[in-house]
């Protein structure tokens, strides 16, 4: 199967049409189970009390934030190197999803931080690098918005995504380095208690629900972008001929 096997938009649309309802249904089911387990079944932590429940949305959201950027960067590389016509769209479609998850990781983390650390925000290495990741997403989406011509915008955004991808580990590393120098090691201890299986299950199920959500939205947004691209070409041709 060649790399261009799915390049045929019609084939992609057919395949997406088949997968999307299943992914959507799976999202709903997993989310319901996950929420029930997280809010009702899972025991309160002996140290953190009920606040530990925030973990069941916070941690999967944080995972998805990083996963989406990886996906975006790989799709961009495929778009630039092999000029795969769907890769552009995949990258573009995944950005708002990733940005939303990053935003959620930040907000749920903050909400968790208030009872645990007594403050909404500290400039800890991990927090800071997530915040910067959020900016990278915003920049990526703003660049797509700012350039009118779809093909040009795609290539420019892909260049940015790759440069950003090189930078993410550097940021992570540099922020760690920076933080160890300044931060009095008092408040922050993320290694926390080892995870029980009573907590592991809801966490895993929520994580799976988020993945399914990602797949569903990715497919829908890619199909939308594909349609818009066709519509634009048809409209432009109609007007000018």
């Amino acid at each position: 199967m060649s790399i261009h096997y799915f390049a045929n938009p019609a084939r992609f649309t057919r395949l997406a049409g088949r997968i999307q309802p299943w992914a959507g249904g799976l999202t709903a089911v997993l989310l319901l189970i996950g929420l029930y387990m997280a809010l009702v079944e899972a025991p309160a932590d002996y140290q953190q009390g009920d606040t530990v429940r925030i973990m069941f949305v916070h941690v999967p959201a944080a995972w998805m934030a990083m996963f989406c950027y990886t996906f975006l960067a790989v799709a961009s590389a495929v778009a630039l190197i092999w000029r795969h016509p769907l890769a552009d769209l995949a990258a573009k479609a995944s950005a708002p999803i990733g940005a939303s998850f990053t935003f959620l990781a930040l907000v749920t983390g903050s909400i968790w931080g208030k009872p645990m650390w007594g403050t909404w925000w500290v400039w800890d290495a991990r927090l800071t690098s997530v915040l910067i990741l959020f900016f990278l997403y915003l920049g990526y989406m703003a660049l797509w918005e700012a350039i009118e011509d779809g093909q040009k915008a795609g290539k420019a955004a892909a260049v940015l995504a790759l440069v950003g991808a090189v930078n993410v580990p550097i940021i992570k590393f540099s922020v760690d380095w920076w933080n160890t120098l300044h931060q009095p090691a008092s408040v922050l201890r993320m290694d926390g208690p080892a995870i029980h299986s009573s907590m592991l299950w809801p966490l895993l199920i929520m994580a799976l629900a988020f993945k399914a959500y990602f797949v569903t939205l990715l497919l829908a947004r890619m199909r939308m972008e594909l349609n818009l691209r066709r519509i634009r070409a048809m409209r432009l041709a109609e007007r000018t001929s």
Binding site: D50, I54, F103, A220, R230, R235
Partner: protein, 61 residues
């Protein structure tokens, strides 16, 4: 009833836990609805445009 109240109070942390879960669900629902709606709209627009062209007898793509 007391059980329900106890559940809702979340061991005194209701003010943190419910907003946290709430915002997650709101943001996810919002993005879901927005994505699905714009996808459906694009399908409709494309379909009507195609039909319009077929009526005029243009060659398709």
């Amino acid at each position: 009833m007391g059980n329900m109240e106890q559940f809702l109070s979340m061991g005194g942390y209701a003010g943190f836990i419910w907003p946290a879960f709430g915002i997650v669900l709101i943001v996810m629902a919002f993005l879901w609805i927005a994505s699905m709606r714009s996808w459906r709209k694009s399908e409709q627009a494309l379909a009507s445009l195609r039909q319009h062209r077929r009526q005029r007898g243009d060659i398709e793509e």
